[in-house]
Structure formats: C-alpha cells, structure tokens
C-alpha cells in the first residue's frame, strides 16, 4: 500500500460501466513526513476520504477487486484507509 494525500477529484459521465457512481479521487504520493512526491494515482474511494486528507491507497489488482466486490472489474487502485498518524523510528 502507499501513503498519499487527496489533491483533487474527477467527475466523468462517459466511463466504463463499472465506474458508474464511483467516487474517484486524485491522490499524490507522499513520504513518511508528509512531503509530496512526483507520483500520483487516481483511485476509487471506499472510505469517504476528503480533500487534503492523508490516505492509504491499495495499488494492486486482486486486492482492489476484492475490496470493490468484483472478480472482473478493471480496478487496481482503491483508497482503503484514512491516516491519522505516521511515526518513523
């Protein structure tokens, strides 16, 4: 899983049928201290994350399909958690 911060959202009317009524958020990757990295990912939100929140993104196909309850959905990235705190040793 990757740490990220929600930096935006996406709306679309023409999309793959599985994505009808799914909430898509743009998540930038961040390091443990919260500094933004160059990468980003567009993920389905399953936990009700909002703008600016630190989130946990699952970026793997089989796990993501399990989360969204489908065996054949074209889904790889889902937001599976909202992060309260990160501590490094």
């Amino acid at each position: 899983m990757i740490l990220g911060r929600v930096i935006g959202s996406i709306t679309s009317t023409i999309n793959h049928p599985f994505y009808d009524a799914k909430k898509l958020l743009v998540v930038e990757r961040i390091d443990a201290a919260g500094a933004p990295l160059a990468d980003y990912v567009i993920a389905i939100d399953t936990v009700g994350a909002g703008a600016g929140e630190r989130v946990l993104v699952l970026d793997e196909g089989n796990g993501a399909r399990q989360v969204v309850g489908s065996t054949d959905a074209p889904v790889r990235s889902v937001i599976v958690g909202i992060v309260d705190d990160v501590t490094t040793a």
Binding site: I7, I10, T13, G34, I42, A51, G52, G61, P74, R76
Partner: protein
C-alpha cells in the same frame, strides 16, 4: 489510473484475435499538475467514445485488459473514462499540513 490527453488515433490493419474493432488512441500521459509527462502511448478505448483533444483517465497493466470485452486480450493500457471536470484542491484551508 492516470490522467492523459488523447493526441491521436491509431488504426491497425491486423490485430490479435479479440482486438478487432477496439479503438486504439494515442495518449499523452500527464503529471498531477496536468502537464505532459513522458512519451505518448497507445491505449485501447473501453468507452469507445474518446477522441483527439479529450482528457481521459486510463488504467495500465493487467487491469487494462479486464475493461474490454472479450477481456482475455493482449492490451496493457486502456482508457476507462473521459474526464468532465477534475479539481485540484488549491485552497490552503482544505490542505492539512503533514
């Protein structure tokens, strides 16, 4: 998934079994600010409605083929949707520090 801009169409004359009639588009990947990043790639279009100039989001890897019907096809990038709006959170009030 990542954001991209459709910059052209690709018309193959011979394709692998299962890919007949699937639209192929040239997509320029974009970074999180919306600027072009890297070199364009060829993506199948699961919406069958995207065209040059449009902003789209596409999936890569194994999941790209799952968006198509039939799904067991040799494809590594597929356009999933056409973006109507995409909002970047600019307001500092919404942006929690660290």
């Amino acid at each position: 998934m990542l954001l991209g801009r459709v910059v052209g169409t690709v018309v193959p004359c011979v394709v692998y079994e299962g890919l007949q009639g699937v639209p192929m588009l040239l997509v320029q990947p974009m970074d999180k600010e919306g600027a072009p990043k890297g070199v364009p790639l060829v993506a199948a279009d699961s919406t069958r409605m995207a065209g040059p100039g449009e902003l789209v989001y596409y999936e890569g890897g194994r999941e790209a083929a799952l968006a198509l019907d039939p799904w067991f096809v040799p494809v590594d990038h597929t356009i999933i949707g056409i973006v109507d709006t995409w909002g970047q959170v600019q307001n500092a009030a919404f942006s929690k520090k660290s």
